[in-house]
Amino acid sequence: MSGTEHTGYTLLTRSYSATGTTELHTGKHHVLYLTREFSSESYKRFYYDEIHAIFSVKTNEFQVANAISISVALLSLLLLLASLSNLPLVLGFSVSMVTGILLLVINLIKGPTVRTVIQTEVNREEINCFRRQRALDKILPQLISLIQDAQTSLVKQTETAPVTEPPADEAAAPMNGDTHEQPPS
């Protein structure tokens, strides 16, 4: 079997961090959460009809990053004003001040930070692609509509059919003599 299978996934969002890349792709039946570290990828699949909830909580990383950037910029400005006669110091503090301002602007553009979780019956996964409220607001409606479409039929099926338990003897049915191989449980 071929190792590379391009099975019709569509990239929803991608985020980069120091440890690697995380991506969220939508497939026909599931959403694929991909984590890439150095030269390997790991995958987690969340089937649309099994997702219980997607929710997020606001975090204070945004405010902390803003405070640090402003502090760096202001401190650099003060030191710059204090050492106007020394050209190398002026250059160094100018660079650090501009860096602080740039980081502040980038953080403000990216917007508030959140932690987002996809929950299923057996799993609860934090999605690192959704670390910003803005990205979440942009991407999440697409994902929600896919999940709701998949679960609409599920609700209809459940409403029409009563909940039934399998017969007790079925699960514990003995293997008969013609059995070729018993798969691992």
Binding site: T7, R36, E41, Q119, Q151, T158, V163, M175, P183
Partner: protein, 194 residues
């Protein structure tokens, strides 16, 4: 955690899912941060309908490979065996037997169930670039290995997601240049010595 609860991602306080569904910006009882999200109908369907899986075979029916008293309902997409409903695992549009699914966790050979992949293009690039940064003389070993990876996996770079394919040619080119460079350097040093 019960099925109808969600956990605050920050403080792990359990919150009733219906509260999250009803209130737009809910304050977490534990940390006070604002929670928002969507709860889907599947959370209420913890007891799904479980149809009877037993389907005894009659005289001329094809029978399940694993249970000869059961009628085969489908063919495993991986191994091709006839399997009954009891041994069928549906993954997307395909049916697999329980044996193949169990094996796939070790062998990683069913793409629909694959949980990890080794990316050969990234590896080749890493082997071609790292020696340049760390310790140049070992390119005599790493450049041929990077070139081998490029040739061996040129059509199959690993992974189930389509990626841009610039890494393999770049790694190959870099490996060739490095190898020629180190040979040339070796010749120059040798000529200097004699």
């Amino acid at each position: 955690m019960t099925a109808k609860e969600v956990e605050c991602p920050k403080c792990r306080t359990k919150i009733a899912a219906e509260k999250l569904a009803q209130i737009d910006n809910l304050s977490c009882y534990g940390c006070g941060n604002t929670l928002s999200g969507t709860v889907f109908p599947a959370i209420d369907l913890t007891k799904r309908e479980k149809p009877s899986l037993s389907n005894p075979a009659t005289g001329e029916d094809a029978v399940c490979f694993y249970r000869a008293d059961q009628r085969a309902s489908t063919v495993c997409a991986q191994c091709g065996l006839f399997i009954s409903e009891m041994y069928r695992v549906r993954v997307g549009d395909e049916d697999f037997c329980t044996n193949c699914v169990a094996k796939s966790y070790d062998t990683n050979n069913i793409p629909a169930l694959r949980t990890r992949s080794s990316l050969k293009d990234y590896q080749a690039l890493l082997w071609a670039i790292l020696p340049l940064i760390l310790f140049f003389p070992i390119v005599i070993l790493t450049a041929p290995y990077a070139f081998f990876l490029v040739i061996r996996h040129r059509n199959n770079t690993g992974g189930i997601i389509k990626r841009s394919n610039w890494r393999m040619p770049v790694a190959g080119l870099l490996a060739i240049v490095e190898f020629i460079g180190i040979i040339a350097l070796g010749i120059v040093v040798w000529q200097e010595m004699i």
